[in-house]
């Protein structure tokens, strides 16, 4: 950095390849640093860290005066508690089990969340917004992160406060001790809806469903390719395909939750091996 004071006090001598840059107070040399830019870690930063650690300790000790670690009765393989809740950080996945089969909700989806988080730096090609808080310069990235974690936290809240006996939906004012009548809600695969609405055979209806499912991914893949060419060009084919698979899957989870809660759809695609 060109320092004003440098030029005023020590004008550069055209005949010399070296020059005196600045005189500073202090006991140690400052090399390639702006004047007065840095402070010693001890005590400045160390004290902040120490205070932070003390505050966290104090807060925890205060907290455990009011809240205690739970301990239920001895483990009993013959008595299943109802409802059975996972630890809160896994309640999101437990709630997703309502909307998807266990192979997806319990295994594939968590795997995709982990891999999806890991690949984020490699598909986010936007060079802006490093080192400061900004939403306007990287709206899409922030949207993706927020959407994913909104799903995560909303399902945790539902699992904690809105699920009761048999993992049925209980409003805060519902009677927590009375079992809901599961017969009130009939879940159907999507193709049965088509059979009833369009009076087509089951196989034709299943074909519709397969087309809708594949079409969702195909159209999703193609729309940005054709209509948001800048977005595609900034990423390149490899990054684009990787990102879109994760993006469409994440959006798909949201769509499936809506379909299940509002229209009682159990599956979109039914195959002999897996149902989604």
């Amino acid at each position: 950095m060109e320092n004003k004071a440098v030029r005023e006090i020590f004008p550069r001598d055209a005949k010399k390849s070296y020059g005196l840059v600045e005189l500073m107070k202090g006991a140690s040399p400052i090399v390639r640093k702006e004047p007065e830019d840095t402070v010693y870690t001890w005590p400045n930063l160390i004290m902040i860290e120490l205070i932070c650690a003390l505050l966290v300790t104090a807060a925890l000790i205060l907290l455990v005066q009011f809240e205690h670690a739970p301990l239920r009765s001895l483990a009993d393989p013959s008595t299943t508690p109802n409802p059975m809740r996972a630890p809160w950080y896994f309640l999101g996945l437990q709630e997703i089990l309502v909307y998807f089969d266990p192979w997806y909700a319990g295994v594939v989806l968590p795997g995709m969340i982990i891999v999806g988080l890991m690949i984020f730096p490699y598909v986010d090609t936007n060079p802006k917004g490093v080192g400061y808080y900004t939403y306007s310069e990287r709206k899409f990235a922030v949207f993706n992160y927020s959407f994913g974690f909104a799903l995560w936290w909303i399902t945790i809240v539902i699992g904690t406060y809105l699920r009761g006996l048999d993992w049925q939906w209980y409003w805060p004012w519902s009677d927590k001790l009375a079992h809901m009548n599961p017969a009130l809600v009939t879940l159907v695969p999507l193709h049965i809806v088509f059979v009833n609405l369009l009076h087509v055979s089951k196989d034709v209806a299943k074909g519709f469903c397969d087309i809708i499912f594949l079409g969702y991914f195909a159209v999703g893949m193609l729309i940005p390719y054709f209509f948001m060419r800048k977005f595609y060009d900034s990423m390149g084919a490899g990054r684009y395909i990787t990102f879109m698979i994760f993006f469409l899957s994440m959006m798909g989870v949201g769509l499936k939750i809506i379909l299940r809660l509002l229209f009682n759809i159990k599956y979109i695609v039914v195959t002999p091996w897996i149902n989604v």
């Binding site: 160390i46 739970p70 001895l74 483990a75 319990g106």
Partner: protein, 253 residues
């Protein structure tokens, strides 16, 4: 008088062998204390003035590390009173709660520091995300961070089984049941049965050492929780911090 005594003490061979430099009240010793002390040397000797502002990092990563250290301390304390045996585990916890001096405090601290660590890992990740700190050249450190997040969750979950109460038993029963739905390598998973996977050779069997959660599962979770995963986290933490120093800071640090 006091001055003289102090002078005598700090000039002894014993004192000088432990402390290589004087008290860090001048700039030379302030530099020495950071780069000659193993615990402080993860810091640079000097930091930018703006790094002292809290509103960039909010100390979230630091708090996470501190909670991890706290969990190690309280966890080792609890290990003195705990036996990973189904016939004793629950009684041990009862003893910790009602008999052993300070037991309740240590167990509660361990429990809530664990909640806190999960929460602060997430907050730290959100901070890193919102400041774009994961972008080049720091991409790989973000990946290391995700590994640490996953390890934190597994640590918390393996610890969940150890009290051997109804909460522990059923949370882990349901959780490991999920593993049996893994495609190809789970007995209930798609293409599992077709590949000859059954209850005695699938992923769930490997995790709990049997077909139901029992003694084998308890000892596995105990070893994972107390030895394997803390070591893994420590190694990845070392990489995480090393990379912060090597790849540089993102913000006004």
């Amino acid at each position: 008088m006091l001055e003289k005594m102090k002078e005598k003490v700090v000039q002894t061979q014993l004192f000088k062998s432990v402390f290589r430099h004087g008290y860090p009240d001048n700039e030379l010793n302030q530099a020495y204390v950071v780069f000659s002390n193993i615990f402080l040397h993860i810091h640079p000797v000097k930091v930018r003035r703006s790094a002292l502002r809290m509103r960039y990092t909010f100390c979230l990563g630091g708090i996470t590390l501190f909670l991890f250290i706290m969990l190690a301390v309280t966890g080792i304390w609890l290990m003195f009173y705990y036996t990973p045996y189904t016939g004793l585990a629950y009684k041990n916890i009862k003893d910790i709660q009602f008999v052993i001096f300070g037991g309740n405090l240590m167990r509660d601290l361990h429990r809530f520091a664990a909640h806190g660590m999960v929460l602060f890992v997430w907050l730290h990740m959100t901070r890193v995300f919102l400041t774009g700190a994961y972008k080049a050249p720091r991409e790989f450190n973000w990946v290391v961070g995700v590994v640490l997040l996953v390890n934190t969750l597994i640590l918390s979950w393996t610890g969940y089984l150890l009290p051997w109460d109804q909460l522990a038993y059923w949370a882990v029963t349901v959780g490991t049941k999920m593993a049996s739905y893994t495609p190809f390598i789970g007995q209930n998973g798609p293409w599992g049965a077709q590949l000859g996977v059954n209850p005695t050779n699938d992923l769930m069997f490997m995790m709990i050492g049997g077909t139901v959660v029992g003694q084998n599962a308890l000892i596995r979770f105990y070893v994972l929780h107390c030895v394997v995963l803390p070591l893994v986290v420590t190694v990845f933490l070392a990489v995480h911090f090393w990379r912060i120093r090597k790849d540089g800071f993102s913000g006004p640090l």
